[in-house]
């Protein structure tokens, strides 16, 4: 019930909020979607992808190409972008998901580095110059779309926690070999999880592209998104339903407050949060809330003590 109230409040923002607030909201909501998408592959399946920005970019370009080059409607563009992401996730996923933890992270990181360069050679995508989309000046609409996407993403994660598929993912995360000998088709499950996270990232990218009306390889495949989505998911609590949402919204708000002073402070802020959070609260806010009540400040010291050399 509290949840429905929260959603209602969020949905009502465009009516009583300022323009700036709405714009902040769109950005924050889309980041939350990215964080949730990452949560599926990183939080639940345990494969920390450092390259989901690739799917975000594919979604952006999907919508841009569909609308600017083929004159398709926005919905068609979103579908195209999502399909691109899903196909890419499967093609890249099958070889790359065979890699152990940090090798997978490195491979996805390298992929993210390279995507902008690849796309800047594609004529259909407007090469280096980028594409301009038909303008639509309706921030509240984009806001509600973003909110809807976040609700969908969160519902998907919730479904994960109650379904056989989700259990399989968790088993893979906790002990992949053990999961396999118990009958989990690990390759299939990991790839599907990767595709799910890719599709949500792509949809977020698609909405963003239409909203800002212009994309080019650098902005669409923005590598900085990776650090943001990961830290938001991890800060809030990876492998939980609401962790990424809480992490995304709270960190976005904090960053906004700080960076009204100096613009590059935002990036610095995220870096520092990552470092501090991973050292003192590696299991995220969700775990802090749960354990702080019994342990108090010792919780943080304990995290350090159990992990230090």
């Amino acid at each position: 019930m509290l949840l429905l109230a929260a959603i209602a409040v969020l949905a009502a923002v465009p009516w009583f909020g300022s323009d700036v607030l709405i714009q902040f909201g769109i950005n924050a909501l889309l980041l939350a979607v990215l964080a949730q998408g990452w949560n599926v592959i990183g939080g639940y399946a345990g494969y920390a992808s450092f390259g989901n920005s690739v799917f975000y970019g594919l979604g952006s370009y999907g919508v841009a190409i569909a609308m600017a080059q083929w004159q398709l409607p926005f919905g068609g563009g979103l579908l195209f972008g999502a399909a691109l992401a899903a196909v890419f996730a499967v093609l890249i996923g099958i070889p790359v998901l065979r890699l152990r933890g940090h090798y997978f992270a490195i491979a996805t990181l390298a992929l993210a580095q390279v995507m902008a360069a690849i796309v800047s050679n594609v004529k259909l995508a407007g090469r280096n110059v980028g594409l301009v989309l038909p303008p639509l000046n309706n921030d509240p609409l984009f806001y509600e779309l973003s909110l809807l996407l976040l609700v969908l993403a969160t519902l998907t994660v919730y479904w994960l926690t109650r379904s056989r598929f989700g259990f399989g993912l968790i088993a893979i995360r906790e002990n992949e070999e053990g999961a396999a000998v118990m009958g989990v088709n690990t390759t299939l499950y990991k790839t599907v999880a990767f595709a799910i996270s890719g599709v949500f990232s792509a949809l977020a990218g698609g909405i963003h592209a239409y909203w800002v009306t212009f994309i080019d390889p650098e902005s669409a495949f923005d590598i900085g998104l990776n650090v943001k989505m990961i830290i938001m998911a991890v800060f809030g609590g990876p492998g939980t339903v609401f962790g990424p949402v809480v992490g995304a919204l709270s960190l976005s708000a904090l960053s906004e407050l700080l960076s009204s002073e100096i613009t590059s402070l935002a990036g610095l802020f995220f870096g520092v949060v990552v470092v501090v959070a991973v050292v003192v609260m590696p299991r995220g806010l969700a775990d802090v809330l749960r354990r702080f009540r019994c342990m108090g400040w010792r919780y943080f010291a304990e995290n350090i003590r159990s992990h230090q050399l």
Binding site: F167, A171, E174, N175, G178, A179, A180, V181, G183, V184
Partner: protein, 244 residues
């Protein structure tokens, strides 16, 4: 007596070390086959070869007459091969109940589709192995003996036709060992064929229908437990090693 499992001239090499050397034997339906041998004899490697975690360098493995050597681990699980791990690695973040539920969700034939049914089955298995009181604990909070039982329960929840038990008795005291023996007997009575790997000789002697001995990857004896254990080669292999 039909063979559930047939290991046919299986060899496994690791960079110059031959862990399993041309081993052949059968696991018959409804029997408890014991597998013993000194440390490093290749017993756990053999289990990994059967469950599909490792592939043999040469040789064939047949399950109910069909070759499974090319099947990935999860397919073998779905056919009905279950195993416990010697170094127990439960799913640490999950509760005891949910650990076993994974087995029920994904076991033979693909397992259950519904979470609730899977949890029901898990409860039943935990009851069977005697862990009914611990179902809500986190798996990594269980002590050693509890974890052994959890391993068993997880494998049993898969409804296996063949169960591979990898040193389930290590580190247990006399009473706990008797309990485990009871459970394995019950399992066999339910129609499961069991391959038990053990160091605890006394226990395995009373439990097994037949006994198999491995040393340095080579099968050195097979047959009736009494005869095998008094076999000269077997005794020599164990000279100086600990005996229960």
């Amino acid at each position: 007596m039909t063979a559930m499992l047939e290991i046919s001239h299986v060899t496994r090499r690791f960079e110059g070390l031959v862990a399993v050397d041309d081993v052949s034997f059968m696991l018959l339906r409804g029997e408890i086959l014991g597998l013993i041998g000194p440390n490093g004899a290749g017993k756990s490697t053999l289990v990994s070869l059967i469950s599909g975690t490792l592939a043999p360098s040469s040789g064939d493995i047949l399950f109910e007459g069909r070759s499974i050597v090319r099947l990935p681990a999860y397919r073998r699980a779905r056919l009905g091969i279950g195993r416990t791990f010697q170094i127990m690695r439960p799913f640490p973040g999950l509760s005891v109940l949910d650990n076993v539920a994974v087995g029920a969700l994904f076991g033979r034939g693909g397992g259950q589709v519904q979470m609730s049914k899977a949890r029901e089955q898990a409860r039943a298995q935990l009851d069977f192995v005697g862990l009914a009181k611990n179902i809500d604990q986190r798996a990594d909070e269980l002590g050693g003996p509890g974890r052994k039982r959890l391993e068993l329960a997880k494998a049993l929840a898969m409804k296996p036709k063949v169960l591979l038990c990898d040193e389930v008795m290590a580190g247990l005291n006399q009473v706990e060992i008797e309990d485990v023996i009871e459970v394995i007997r019950k399992v066999r009575n339910e129609g499961v064929s069991v391959l038990v790997i053990e160091h605890v000789i006394k226990a395995i002697r009373s439990l097994s229908d037949r006994l198999l001995v491995l040393n340095h990857g080579v099968k050195i004896a097979e047959g009736d437990p009494g005869r095998v254990l008094s076999n000269q080669t077997v005794v020599e292999a164990y000279l100086g090693k600990r005996r229960a």
